[in-house]
């Protein structure tokens, strides 16, 4: 993921080009470094991907870990084919998102997730600020596609093109989701004040 492309994407969105954050540098380094085996991809992407999916699913890191684990299992089973892809990491992201979506569809799992969420709410992560909690609530109220786009773009530090590929939608649609999400968050958080 080139910073140049990121900057261009962000210009299109009318956002600040902030340069490489720690995550973007790490991801860029990981992408450039070694995509030669499933394990190297796992080392480079697992943690960020699970955290991203946990944010998307409202903090349910167990479901997120399952979904990402599934994706990596599939990766390994189909490594002969997937290793020929330009960007196997993009494939993993897409599969993991789909897995997450599957899991969310099950009523039973949803109920379980709610219970887990409930228990997690009692555990305020260290270092979290009051303002973050408001953001978390509002993030959870965003439509799934907007939430996914926001997390992948702002947290996982993917480019618009990479988000589009992960979500199986066009870059234009990603821009739309990001724009609407930002608008919604801005309005709601202003109202909350």
């Amino acid at each position: 993921m080139g910073n140049e492309r990121r900057d261009r994407d962000m210009e299109q969105l009318g956002l600040d080009a902030i340069g490489g954050t720690g995550v973007s540098r790490a991801l860029a380094a990981a992408s450039a470094a070694d995509a030669s085996s499933p394990e190297s991809l796992f080392r480079a992407h697992y943690r960020t991907l699970v955290r991203s999916l946990a944010l998307i699913s409202g903090g349910d890191s167990e479901t997120a870990a399952d979904a990402v684990g599934d994706a990596f299992l599939q990766l390994e089973q189909n490594w002969d084919r997937i290793s020929t892809y330009d960007d196997p990491a993009a494939w993993i992201r897409r599969v993991a998102l789909n897995r997450l979506s599957n899991r969310r569809r099950s009523l039973a799992r949803r109920a379980g997730a709610l219970l887990r969420l409930q228990s997690q709410r009692d555990e305020t992560p260290q270092g979290i600020r009051a303002t973050d909690l408001a953001l978390k609530d509002e993030l959870g109220r965003l439509p799934l596609k907007q939430r996914t786009a926001v997390v992948l773009f702002y947290f996982a530090d993917l480019s618009v093109a990479e988000v589009a590929e992960a979500m199986s939608i066009t870059e234009g649609a990603v821009n739309q989701h990001l724009h609407r999400a930002r608008e919604t968050l801005r309005k709601r958080l202003e109202v909350d004040q």
Partner: protein
């Protein structure tokens, strides 16, 4: 939380930081090993059989490929038992023989037993994960669709068979799609909505939809679809009518056999509405009527693999997820298409997304055509005058205009809508006409309907005699030479091939300004002449010529599309272009934005002897201004009691020539050629004045008034 939100809200960096604080921490150590069944703390073990590895300390999350083969012996016994039970129930309830046969045939392939609500084709012995949906869709569906028309080996008797159903046998891709069950339906819909062709592969996609939903459109609708386009249009109509169809059947005079058989024919999409019907009857406390008693068996037949139930309420409780999914499939089937508006002279693009409502999804291919060409579609709506024009849709475009005149993009977009509709009709979409409306700043600015009565000669798609590069190179050389002594400069010329195979030549030219362009406007004919020669002499097969002439300051001067395939031209030109191909009135000092305003303005101008304004309000005139002025001064028309009684919108073949009839009554005093003053009264019901929209402004047609 409002910190930093005052102007542009939380900054991007603040948002990033907050998300990083919110994201739960994740332990990575040992996970890779546990995914492989390896003890994180100990040495690695060999992988499990067939590369399938179960994790330690976590439940199995993997899954086998969807099962469509024969069930295991144990499972078979259970299936037979249940099958026998269902047969007994069905016979006891008096199902028609056909329904019964259909039911039994289907059971053999798909009936499964599970402790989870299941779908057709789900693997019965994988209770933790119903055969999957979105992941399979994303990872496999497109691959499978692409693999559907795989030919049989040359020594197979079915090799090159012309019967599409031959290709359903021994077709692993087809089987796998069907095994995905209802989860595959949205993806299959999406495929048909955007890329449906008359080819074998898409035919099999339709067959897969029918197989998954257990609905034979030919049988239930009497509609023998010949290809995916015709299927797709009718399928959407069919699903839209599903609630009504169910109610009609169930409310009919109850005849056990016929009702049951007809409901079964409707397929799985009927299930939510059968349940709703039962709920309604239940509310009426009339649960003893025969049809309600039969509904649980009906539902089980429609959704093989669903959990059996003695009552509707029980069925509903046990299969809630499947019922919701089917209802969503029937009702929430809109399609989103996104794209960028075309690059204007200042290279600004705008991204937009259009959501196509379920009732119009059969026209999503039309939207794809337009979006691919940068046309900003706002939405699809019901076409006006459908009774007159037949099947169609109104395409609502976002106007680029900032004032009373149409922007050049608008004018060209109208042609592209017509063209896209022609292509869709040629691809067998059921469409007789297309409407075009513009919205700008939230208000409709114009509306028209055009019959789709043209087609493109297949010869345009024959193998060309020049490559795209050769065609562009020759055109560039010859057009540049032709414009050598002209004020126009050719700055860019490309020849591209549209997805439908049409070759489009796109030329950008500059000129110092409008006056210079006006003086030499006919020089632009060289573009058409060169393309004509390339087509005639070299079989270049350039079907569309798009020319954009702008002033050196970037202002558009004349934009046009010459559609050689459809034999029509559409253009926009700056106000100062008065010479050339179209007789133009003088510049307007008023801006009539409606047919009524147009005629009222002209009558007022005549009464006030504002001759330039009155003349400018004609769409075209056969008379030069001087001659026209002489006639009118001599006649000295004066209108009295002029009143407008309504407007009827018509249309012509070219979309940018919207036509309307304004019904008026009046008295007019005028002087006859011999000098005699006379008066003519046009009383109710009045007469129609024909008006026409030119470049966004309504103008009176000359001849009809005479």
């Amino acid at each position: 939380m409002s910190r930093g939100m005052s102007d542009r809200g939380m900054s991007d960096q603040e948002l990033r930081d907050a998300l990083h604080r919110l994201a739960p921490d994740v332990k990575e150590n040992g996970v890779w090993e546990s995914l492989h069944g390896e003890d994180a703390a100990g040495p690695s073990r060999a992988p499990g059989p067939a590369g399938r590895r179960e994790g330690i300390g976590r439940k199995s999350v993997g899954r086998r490929p969807p099962t469509v083969g024969r069930p295991s012996q144990t499972r078979t016994r259970r299936l037979l038992s249940l099958g026998a039970a269902v047969v007994v129930v069905l016979v006891a309830l008096g199902f028609g023989v056909n329904a019964l046969v259909q039911h039994l045939r289907q059971d053999e392939q798909v009936l499964v037993i599970s402790d989870q609500p299941m779908q057709p084709g789900s693997g019965a012995n994988e209770p933790t994960q119903p055969v999957s949906d979105a992941d399979a869709l994303a990872d496999r569906l497109q691959e499978l669709i692409a693999a559907l028309p795989t030919p049989y080996p040359a020594d197979d008797v079915r090799y090159a068979s012309s019967n599409p159903y031959d290709y359903l046998e021994d077709n692993p891709a087809f089987d796998e799609i069907v095994a995905m069950g209802y989860d595959a339906l949205p993806g299959l819909d999406r495929h048909l909505a955007t890329t449906a062709t008359a080819g074998l592969g898409d035919y099999l996609v339709c067959a897969a939809i029918e197989s998954i939903t257990r609905c034979d459109l030919k049988q239930v609708e009497g509609f023998a679809w010949a290809d995916s386009r015709t299927f797709w249009g009718r399928w959407n109509q069919y699903l839209k009518r599903m609630p009504t169809l169910v109610d009609e059947i169930l409310e009919r005079d109850p005849s056990f056999w016929i009702q049951g058989e007809e409901i079964v024919k409707l397929g799985a999409p009927a299930v939510p509405y059968v349940v709703e019907y039962a709920d309604r009857i239940d509310e009426q406390q009339d649960s003893g009527i025969p049809v309600l008693l039969r509904i649980p068996a009906l539902l089980s037949t429609l959704v093989p693999g669903s959990e059996q139930a003695a009552t509707v309420a029980e069925f509903k409780a046990r299969n809630a997820e499947v019922i919701d999914q089917l209802k969503s499939y029937v009702e929430d089937r809109s399609v989103e298409v996104s794209g960028d508006t075309w690059s204007t002279s200042d290279s600004i693009t705008t991204t937009f997304t259009v959501e196509i409502a379920p009732e119009f999804v059969q026209f999503s291919g039309l939207v794809e055509h337009l979006v691919a060409q940068g046309v900003a579609v706002a939405e699809l709506r019901e076409m006006p005058f459908a009774e007159e024009y037949g099947t169609g849709v109104e395409v609502v475009l976002r106007s680029e205009a900032t004032g009373p005149r149409w922007a050049p993009e608008d004018v060209l977009a109208t042609h592209l809508v017509f063209r896209a509709a022609v292509l869709e009709k040629m691809a067998r979409t059921d469409i007789d006409a297309v409407g075009v409306a513009f919205v700008g700043q939230g208000e409709v600015e114009s509306q028209s309907v055009v019959p789709i009565d043209k087609t493109i000669d297949p010869d345009w798609y024959a193998t060309p005699g020049l490559t795209l590069e050769e065609a562009a190179q020759r055109a560039t050389t010859e057009i540049s030479a032709g414009l050598a002594s002209s004020p126009f400069d050719l700055v860019e010329l490309t020849v591209i091939q549209e997805p439908d195979g049409t070759r489009v030549l796109r030329a950008r030219l500059t000129v110092a300004g409008v006056p210079e362009a006006n003086e030499s406007i006919d020089d632009l004919n060289v573009v058409g002449a060169v393309v004509g020669a390339l087509n005639d002499e070299h079989q270049a097969k350039i079907g569309v010529v798009r020319t954009e002439v702008s002033a050196t300051d970037g202002e558009p001067v004349k934009w046009s599309i010459g559609d050689l395939q459809l034999k029509s031209s559409t253009w926009w030109q700056a106000e100062g272009i008065t010479e050339g191909t179209y007789p133009r009135p003088a510049s307007l000092s008023e801006a009539p934005l409606s047919p009524e305003a147009c005629v009222l303005t002209q009558v007022e101008a005549i009464n006030n002897h504002d001759w330039p304004l009155a003349y400018s309000l004609y769409a075209s005139t056969p008379l030069e201004y001087g001659d026209w002025l002489k006639e009118h001064v001599e006649a000295d028309e004066v209108y009295e009691d002029f009143a407008v009684h309504g407007t009827e919108f018509l249309s012509e073949t070219l979309l940018d020539k919207t036509v309307a009839l304004v019904r008026v009554t009046y008295k007019v005093h005028f002087t006859l050629p011999g000098g005699q003053r006379t008066v003519v009264e046009v009383a109710e019901p009045g007469e129609d004045w024909s008006v026409e929209k030119v470049d966004g402004l309504w103008r009176v047609r000359w001849l009809p008034r005479q």
